[in-house]
Amino acid sequence: MDMMKSRILEADSMWLEYDGHKILQSIYIKMQTGHVTGLLGRNGTGKSSLMRMIFGTLRGQNQSVRVDGDYFSHPYQQRGLVSYLPQHPFLPAGLRVSEVCRLYEVDFTDLCEHFGDFHQYRHTRVRDLSTGGRRLFATLLIVMMPVAFTLLDEPFAALSPLNVEQIGKVINEQKTRKGILISDHAYEDVLSLADETYLIVPVGRSILLKNVRIELAEFGYI
């Protein structure tokens, strides 16, 4: 890791309104390769929207996403730059597990090293996995994609405690070569992984927490 040049993604001036109702304003988020960044906030504070704006699929009234100082209007269109795990299922149901891995440049054998049970699903279609299995597979895929930055929106939803623990290990392993942003209501899991944590507070402001638990309590998050 020391030999690798650290990369920095900065998202600022993120401004989003729907029908005059402010969702995000005065947002600044910094991600860095080698770091896990936590993103917390109550329901409806715009965490998912912020992630989609950083990814480049949602346009707000204003936004700026820079990587190492270079501006990208649609970061997702840059090969090897950013991956995003949305909250909802997004993998085509008819594709086989191994085919999806190949399309996302994820080595199926590597994936099985973390979750040995997946060996049996190599030729299984996505639709035939259980709900938890699909979520686990989607999360692993996005985390293990060869990109510089990964955005995870509720990666622990629908996963068993054992799988959450194992995903945490994968995230810690992957962060040696990428920057990872995690948002999840299982805040204890987020805090255990995060090197720094932002809190989104009404109306759409981001705060970099210094004394995390104290400030989370002060802002009424916990």
Binding site: F55, G56, T57, H74, Y76, Q77, Q78, R79, S83, Y84, P86, H88, P89, F90, L91, P92, L95, R102, L103, Y104, E105, I142, M145
Partner: protein, 107 residues
């Protein structure tokens, strides 16, 4: 490039078959013309296909927007997906019409 083409094919296959069937069914309902009658019908069929493609975009964006993340994670935008799919759709449509025309001439 091979991966991108594969992804574009997956996207088109998710609805392309229905567009193709609807187009052929429309041709059949209109009296399944061949020869010069088919040439006269083609402009109307092209307009109808534009209409179908508009409906496809609307339905996809309204009901299946979450599926786009599969493609955006592979660096493909919605614009790239739809333009590629509709080009493929027109090519298949004209191929089908060409085969029908040839078959009509032979028969």
């Amino acid at each position: 490039m091979k991966t991108k083409l594969h992804l574009l094919a997956i996207f088109y296959c998710s609805f392309g078959f229905y567009l193709w069937i609807i187009s052929l069914a429309t041709w059949f309902v209109l009296g399944h013309p061949t020869g010069s009658n088919l040439y006269a019908l083609i402009p109307a069929m092209i307009l109808f296909k534009f209409f179908l493609q508009g409906i496809t975009i609307y339905v996809f964006r309204r009901r299946y927007s979450h599926l786009f993340f599969f493609y955006t994670n592979a660096n493909l935008s919605q614009r790239q997906l739809f333009i590629s799919a509709f080009i493929a759709d027109f090519i298949l449509f004209f191929l089908s019409m060409g085969i029908i025309q040839l078959a009509g001439e032979w028969i």
